[in-house]
């Protein structure tokens, strides 16, 4: 299945900004993070199609997955 993966802030270093990538059905967010070598503690915020998700959330074909390190401001 095709997933659009978007990375932000420090997660881009040595990786990419946004890519359309192929994954096996049933892949979870944690699976994608593992494949991209993103350590657990750097993965603070997860959005699937703009809605908050968890590391064990399963992805579906066509999803957009956005991954953020800890961010804040005001």
């Amino acid at each position: 299945m095709k997933i659009t993966v978007k990375l932000f802030a420090t997660l881009r270093t040595g990786r990419f900004k946004a890519e359309s990538r192929e994954y096996a059905p049933g892949t979870t967010v944690a699976g994608v993070a593992r494949e991209l070598n993103i350590p657990r503690e750097e993965l603070a915020l997860i959005l699937i199609n703009g809605r908050s998700a968890e590391p064990d959330s399963e992805l579906s074909d066509g999803d957009t997955l956005s991954l953020f390190p800890p961010v804040g401001g005001g």
Binding site: K6, F8, A9, T10, R12, K17, A44, L45, L47, N49, G50, R51, S52, S66, F68, P69, P70, V71, G72, G73, G74
Partner: protein, 597 residues
């Protein structure tokens, strides 16, 4: 008294009287300092109904107990006055170095009353205080003013707080500037200085701020510093990208207000993001006094340098005006700093003007400048300049979005609460944050109870952003805690790693008091209610605790927040109940008594 200077400086510009008075110690225990203490004094000292731009209004420049101390980020101060934008109690916070310097000069606050006949500035060097002529600085932009004043006082290390042309022209969205590009931005506080013919306050101090319990203070400030450094937001995100790191995440959630809140997703987000800013235009970080976080940016574009831009500024001139050209946004930010304009209100007012133009209410022939079309970089820069000088059509913009839209018979197009322009989060996708917009004492403001933190950023815990349950209570606690932080004189961003107990530890070691976290939060509640009572006296009521109709009635048209409106009426009754207010939003007699108000 520990970290308090113990002294207030009072300057009457009508009579020329300069006096010092002791800090009211008992009141300081109840209202802490800064926003709290100055807010209480304002409420007691000015009668209801006065003209905010008349000599009867007073303006307080107030530090908190921790300002100038060894506390991390302890450089904040507050400008408290009656707002000319909306007649409520204004309290605009700023960082930089001026607040700490005032403390070093031996004062907890400066209160300015009356009105000078001619332009003046106030010079404070420890015990020497002079009211000096400022006619030759009148009309100058911020940087020019600072250079000229430093040359006149012959001391490069003095700290300057000033207004720009916008404050002189009484723009209702004029800021008070300090240290060149730090701003006490909101509520038109710069116009109050302008109305008093007060161009600047230059301060130099040689004293120290000593904690009541130095050993303990060293320990607790060290512990706070460690938490700040180890926290992902304050230790990594903010230092690397500044507040602009928020552009992408707010946009990804579909709550990034675009074209005057007509949409919630902006195609130009990546081009105007904190990541792009860091990659292309960031020259260096620009921290405030004793700040290990250093979220402040200093950027260069086309040979033009200056402080900023912040997230809110990037949004106001960017997405809100449909502009995706970051260089134009940086330049518009520089114009705001030079003119002494609040960047949120300036950008948001241009956004409202663009919608009025889109709908044919503002006619092309009225404009003595660039066409007000969405996405025009030229328009945001040039109209900000004209707004700052109140030139031509710019004079209308200088009134702020609410009055502008009223002039064109379309008040519903003004994205304001209590006439204060809303900041960069569409409440249709963040229920708690929207409740806080509706109930913040100064009007449409994000930093008086930043529920974006739990609703979007997962801190201190993640909350479902669309859920209603529990949000009223979160809003109350965040508002009360923020009242404490604002009154202590440290930066709100410390609240990512620190909690109520940490602030109590800092306060106790600094002052020699022994408040529990609950007692400190009760001070926050008292501070918040004092402001509420001020506003009620000025004629505000529950009917004003609302949001623009668009956000309550028009579902978000697209993106991850599609189909949602803000459900304010489902939240307000519970919020009032938790606050101990009656159905009309008035604090009950019991509540007032419990808080000693």
């Amino acid at each position: 008294m520990g970290v308090y200077a113990g002294k207030i400086l009072r300057v009457n510009l009508t009579t020329g009287a300069v006096a010092t008075e002791p800090l009211p110690a008992e009141k300081a225990k109840l209202f802490l300092g800064g926003r709290g203490l100055a807010g209480r004094m304002l409420a007691e000292e000015i009668p209801a109904g006065i003209d905010p731009l008349g000599p009867e209004n007073k303006i307080f420049f107030a530090t908190g107990p921790l300002t100038g101390s060894a506390a991390p980020t302890g450089g904040r101060y507050m400008v408290v006055t009656k707002s000319p934008l909306n007649n409520v109690i204004a309290s605009s916070n700023s960082g930089g170095f001026w607040g700490a310097e005032l403390k070093f000069a031996g004062y907890d606050m400066v209160v300015v009353e009356g009105k000078a006949k001619e332009p003046v500035y106030i010079y404070v060097k420890d015990d020497t205080v002079e009211i000096r002529p400022a006619a030759r600085f009148w009309g100058m932009q911020t940087n020019e003013t600072v250079d000229a004043l430093l040359a006149e006082v012959g001391d490069n290390r003095a700290r300057v707080l000033n207004i720009g042309p916008a404050g002189e022209k009484l723009s209702l969205i004029a800021a008070v500037m300090n240290d060149r590009w730090r701003a006490a931005g909101r509520s038109g506080v710069g116009a109050v200085m302008g109305s008093k013919n007060l161009k600047a306050i230059v301060v130099r101090g040689s004293g120290k701020v000593e904690a009541a319990n130095p050993e303990k203070y060293k320990e607790v400030t060290g512990a706070a510093l460690k938490k700040i450094r180890e926290n992902g937001v304050t230790g990594e995100g903010l230092p690397a990208y500044g507040t602009a790191i928020l552009v992408n995440i707010i946009n990804e959630n579909g709550i990034y207000p675009t074209r005057n809140f007509q949409e919630g997703v902006f195609a130009g987000a990546e081009a105007t993001s904190g990541e792009t800013l860091a990659e292309k235009y960031l020259k260096k970080k620009d921290p405030c006094f004793r700040c290990p976080i250093a979220c402040g940016r200093y950027c260069e574009v086309d040979g033009e340098e200056g402080g900023g831009p912040e997230y809110e500024t990037i949004w106001a001139f960017g997405a809100d005006c449909g502009v995706s050209d970051l260089p134009s946004i940086i330049k518009a930010n520089n114009v705001c700093n030079e003119m002494g304009l609040d960047t949120i209100s300036a950008g948001a007012t241009i956004a409202a003007a663009m919608e009025l133009y889109q709908r044919g209410l503002i006619k092309p022939e009225e404009l003595d400048g660039p066409e007000l079309v969405w996405g025009s970089g030229e328009a945001i820069i040039e109209w900000t300049r004209k707004m700052g000088r109140a030139e031509g059509f710019g004079a209308r913009l200088a009134l702020g979005s609410a009055r502008l839209c009223e002039l064109y018979g379309a008040p519903e197009l003004s994205m304001t609460v209590k006439k204060l322009e809303l900041p960069a989060y569409d409440p249709r996708g963040v229920m708690g944050h929207g409740l806080q917009y509706a109930t913040a004492n100064r009007g449409g403001c994000h930093v008086r109870g930043y529920l974006i933190s739990p609703e979007i950023l997962g801190s201190p815990q993640a909350l479902d952003r669309f859920a209603l349950e529990g949000k009223a209570e979160w809003a109350k606690i965040f508002q009360d805690l923020t009242s404490v932080i604002d009154s202590l004189g440290v930066c709100l961003f410390t609240s990512f790693p620190l909690g109520a107990q940490d602030y109590a530890d800092l306060y106790n070691a600094a002052t020699g008091e022994s408040l529990t976290a609950e007692e400190l939060l009760a001070c926050g509640e008292r501070i918040f209610n004092n402001e509420r009572l001020f506003n009620l006296q000025e004629g505000y009521s529950a009917a004003d605790d609302t949001l623009p109709r668009r956000l309550l009635a028009e579902p978000m048209p697209e993106g991850p927040t599609k189909g949602h409106v803000h459900l304010l009426d489902k939240l307000l009754p519970e919020y009032y109940r938790l606050r101990g207010w009656d159905a009309d939003g008035v604090p009950t007699a019991e509540k007032k008594q419990a808080l000693g108000l």
